[in-house]
């Protein structure tokens, strides 16, 4: 609240608001013409060489098609790019900024949108935007309950799933209560990354959705006081019961989701949490998980969300960034991204609605035993309002983080 009040005050003082994108400037052929010879600095997490290679490929393609140069600024944390835009705003550089495109979603998007650090709306101007499966994938329009409003273009789909080694486990748990029984029977063989790692936080939200008395309340901002305590009580008692049976007795948690995936390959745990349903297949193909790796989901469904690309309000190469964002939504780029040999990130497009050429690209994707068909991935649960995440993380730190 303090922040909101402060921002309102600040905006009033300096008269800052998001620069309106005039409709005329956002005609596609005008954009494409202006984009030529621009260099787009795309700030994207650089922790996975598969993703880096895919981004390099996209750079070659847009250079050939549009004469746009792509430079991948490899971040170790998206916060670095947010920080840079913030520094530029602090210094009063409202145009000619150094970040042209950011790979973003959730809290980072909410924060940038709230602080008016984003350009747009721009997605309506992109021809490939209409190929997105808005009906089947509502998270392409609402990012962690925050309306996207054209300020970020959908790029890929994430959904919680659990990776295990089928050579070691025959019957994985299929619900949050079953997880507790499984952990009791297999002491020290499961854990989750410590929040605020997003995989760890999402696991907490998953537990929350399954156990809280009124799941619908999670779509609204988290309440104060007793209502919050009532809503979260089942979460805390579940964790109190679960922790003694976790890896290292629940006293130590892995620092990140990737560390936890490495622990699965090291044999330290038997189940790891993933956000990408094709991740297990891709990692197995890359020799980073055993060939016997498989995934499972929970019967009541698991949390899913969409990741996006957004343009900072002061970006220098806005047109080039839009050309890139449009290309990233093309059937060609989306099908290649979904190929587990390349990356294995699920498409945001409505594949059934594509033209035959586009559909063929997806039909041609190779199968892998660690992949589940879309209908076997179960229902997708919506992300709670970001305020729940903040409150739950803080409460988790208070209870287990000291």
């Amino acid at each position: 609240m303090r922040l909101l009040r402060a921002i309102a005050l600040f905006s009033a003082v300096l008269g800052i608001s998001a620069p309106p994108a005039s409709a005329e400037a956002l005609k596609w052929d005008v954009i494409a013409a202006k984009a030529k010879d621009q260099t787009v600095y795309w700030n994207a997490w650089g922790g996975d060489e598969r993703i880096n290679a895919y981004i390099a490929w996209a750079g070659e393609r847009i250079w050939n098609d549009y004469g746009v140069t792509l430079r991948h600024v490899k971040l170790s944390d998206t916060g670095e790019a947010v920080s840079r835009v913030l520094a530029e705003k602090t210094a009063g550089r409202d145009s000619d900024g150094s970040v042209d495109l950011i790979w973003i979603n959730g809290e980072n998007f909410a924060a940038m949108k709230r602080n008016q650090l984003l350009f747009g709306p721009f997605t309506q101007a992109l021809p490939n935007f209409k190929l997105v499966d808005f009906a089947g994938k509502p998270t392409t329009l609402v990012d962690f309950t925050v309306p996207v409003e054209g300020l970020e273009a959908p790029w890929g789909m994430a959904k919680i799933n659990f990776v295990y080694d089928s050579a070691r486990i025959q019957t994985p748990p299929r619900s949050i209560p079953e997880f507790l029984d499984w952990a009791k029977a297999n002491k020290g063989r499961f854990t989750y990354p410590a929040p605020p790692d997003f995989i760890g936080s999402t696991f907490l939200k998953q537990v929350m959705i399954e156990l809280t008395p009124d799941p619908a309340a999670l779509q609204k901002p988290a309440p104060e006081g007793a209502a919050f305590d009532t809503a979260t009580a089942p979460l805390w008692s579940y964790l109190e019961a679960l922790h003694p049976h976790l890896w290292r007795g629940g006293k130590i948690f892995p620092a990140s989701g990737t560390a936890q995936m490495q622990m699965l390959d090291d044999g330290e745990v038997d189940i790891a949490i993933s956000f990408y349903p094709s991740d297990a297949a891709s990692l197995a193909q890359n020799g980073r998980l055993p060939e016997s790796a498989r995934i499972f989901v929970l019967e009541g469904g698991t949390i899913g969300n969409t990741h996006f690309v957004a343009i900072p309000y002061n970006a220098r190469a806005k047109e080039g960034a839009m050309v890139l964002a449009n290309f990233l939504m093309s059937p060609e780029a989306q099908a290649r991204k979904q190929d587990t040999a390349v990356w294995g990130d699920q498409t945001v497009l409505d594949v059934a609605g594509l033209d035959p050429a586009g559909k063929k690209r997806f039909d041609a994707l190779p199968a892998h035993p660690a992949l589940l068909p879309p209908e076997a991935l179960g229902p997708t649960l919506l992300e709670p309002h970001p305020s729940w995440m903040t409150r739950i993380e803080a409460e988790w730190q208070r209870r287990f983080g000291g």
């Binding site: 600040f10 520094a87 602090t90 809290e107 130590i252 620092a255 490495q262 390959d265 020799g287």
Partner: protein
């Protein structure tokens, strides 16, 4: 000394001012950029009034007590252990074959990047790590790794151990470099003639002179150990992490309001470091007082055989651990599939190398340009300041120069935001000049630190004798001082270069995302936790400083091959 009025002296006179100017602007910006948000002022986020709200939030934060405890225990433990080990080793093993052998092997230890050493060490000693794999399951019976916390232990012991592995070599290097200036050989000769044993004689006659010279490096080790981020992310627990990691987490949190908390944390971090160094300084005095009594009481000590075995053994073990940590990363860089409990990879693959060849070449050239420029500039500034001090007969009274050390004391992430704002406002962010400048901020303190004591300890009578023979101050500098100090000068340069190679946050902040160095590439990729890729980048990242250190040792050795007195004392 009245020659300060000569034109050259006139230029030199501005050296401290110029150096401090290069420093004060970004430091002031950095401090302002830290202190204002710590007290609630950051207009871009709507903080327009001063207050103590973020301090209240910080001091009541549930993670703070644990984070502080972890930071202090691991940091102090690591600093004390490193120093004790170095002193014990040099005191008891100087002049032995082991000493000479370990001295030669020092360079690779210095060159390996901190984070790579941490990842290698973590894999070596973890319950599912290499040592466990070598004996599993045939000897240990562990079909799955034992569920014990060796790495990420709640007490921070793994972090302290990792810090010792990386900081001990730096202190050992500084100590060895100081031996010549402290005239260790002559002191020992006198002590032995008076009947002192080798260990007690060294501790009583050489250590006091040597410690005076390595005091600042010891403080730098304390400051580093208390604010380390990259090693802590690998080796320390996450709930809670050490203070510096906690601050970085707040700085990068999507909830931008946490930046106020982070800024307050950064100020607290600064105070923690200052207080720890003050406490260390106090205990130095106590030890000095007790030590003086011990020195004059006349105990001669024995042959020191037991001490030699213990200190030599401990040091060898540490070297072995470091060597194995690096070796295992090398194996990982060539590994295909490597699962527990395989002692070695199931198959070999050059994929990690070939896939990154192009990026490696690109990043290496940027790293070289920035590193050589930053280390060269820092060396020139440090030499100019020190020479000016000498010519103007200033003793170490140039108090303002302590400001040089502030970049080592302020947590980088807090300091750099202010620097970045200034650079953006001036329109010079993302340029080579700004990037090199930002590196000099962190390189110069270490270069100055490494050079100051040897330079100040150089016997003034050499210069005076040369002047009496009619040489100008400049000629004395180039013909007498530089040759006599060539080794410390080159070592200082190599250290500066290594520091530049390792800079991550300054490159990201000042470079505006425009520059790719080996370290930005390595840090970004290590986020994915693939040990193969980490192995590849760690190898190349270590190779560059290794070459610099090798040159720093080889060049003086070759130039002075006919001059016995200028060779490294043993």
């Amino acid at each position: 000394m009245s020659r300060a009025g000569t034109p050259r002296g006139g230029v030199l006179r501005h050296a401290p001012g110029l150096t401090l100017g290069l420093f004060l602007v970004p430091i002031a910006a950095g401090l302002v950029g830290t202190w204002l948000p710590a007290f609630g002022y950051l207009p871009a986020l709507g903080g327009t009034s001063l207050g103590f709200e973020s301090w209240r939030a910080l001091l009541n934060h549930t993670s703070l007590p644990g984070a502080m405890r972890l930071t202090l225990t691991s940091g102090i433990l690591a600093s004390a252990l490193s120093l004790a080990l170095v002193i014990a080793f040099v005191a008891s093993c100087h002049g032995t074959r082991l000493y000479r052998r370990l001295r030669r092997a020092l360079t690779p230890l210095l060159a390996v990047p901190h984070v790579a050493m941490a990842i290698g060490l973590a894999f070596l000693i973890a319950p599912s790590g290499w040592l466990a794999r070598l004996i599993s399951p045939w000897a240990s019976g562990w079909t799955t790794p034992p569920d014990v916390a060796i790495v990420n232990d709640p007490y921070g012991l793994a972090l302290a151990f990792g810090l010792v592995v990386k900081e001990m070599p730096y202190l050992l290097l500084m100590t060895m470099a100081a031996l010549g200036q402290a005239q260790a050989d002559q002191r020992m000769a006198v002590a032995r003639a008076l009947g002192y044993g080798p260990v007690v004689g060294w501790l009583k006659t050489v250590l006091p002179a040597v410690y005076a010279q390595i005091r600042l490096p010891v403080y730098a080790v304390i400051a580093y150990s208390l604010s380390v981020v990259d090693m802590a992310m690998v080796l320390a627990p996450a709930t809670p992490p050490p203070l510096a990691v906690l601050i970085l987490r707040w700085f990068n949190d999507p909830d931008l309001s946490l930046r106020f908390l982070a800024a307050a944390g950064a100020v607290l971090q600064l105070f923690t470091v200052i207080l720890a160094i003050a406490a260390w300084n106090l205990s130095e005095r106590v030890v000095m007082r007790l030590g003086r009594r011990w020195i004059v009481e006349g105990w001669r000590g024995g042959g020191g055989g037991l001490a030699r075995h213990m200190a030599g053994g401990a040091m060898s073990l540490l070297y072995a651990v470091a060597g194995l940590s690096v070796a295992v990363l090398g194996i990982w860089s060539l590994a295909g599939r490597w699962r527990y409990p395989g002692a070695f990879p199931a198959d070999i693959s050059f994929g990690a190398w070939t896939r990154h060849l192009h990026d490696l070449l690109w990043a290496t050239s940027t790293t070289l340009i920035v590193g050589l420029a930053a280390a060269g500039l820092a060396l020139a500034l440090a030499l100019a300041c020190l020479e000016n001090e000498r010519r103007r007969a200033l003793r170490t009274t140039n108090r303002a120069l302590w400001l040089l050390y502030t970049p080592l004391l302020v947590p980088q992430v807090a300091f750099l935001f202010g620097f970045q704002v200034i650079a953006v406002r001036a329109g010079i962010d993302g340029t080579w000049g700004t990037l090199i400048w930002s590196h000099v901020l962190f390189v110069l303190p270490y270069v100055f630190l490494s050079l100051a004591e040897p330079y100040r300890a150089l016997d003034e009578r050499y210069a005076r004798a040369a002047m009496c023979l009619g040489a100008t101050p400049n000629r004395v500098f180039w013909r007498v001082k530089v040759p006599m100090l060539l080794r410390p000068i080159l070592i200082a340069f190599a250290i500066g270069f290594a520091i530049s190679v390792a800079q991550y946050l300054p490159t990201v902040f000042a470079g505006g995302g425009r520059f790719v160095t080996l370290t930005t590439e390595a840090v970004a990729l290590s986020g994915g936790g693939d040990r193969r890729v980490v192995g590849v980048f760690a190898f190349v990242q270590a190779a560059l400083p290794l070459l610099a250190f090798a040159a720093a040792f080889a060049v003086p050795a070759w130039i002075f091959r006919h001059r016995h007195a200028l060779r490294l004392p043993s």
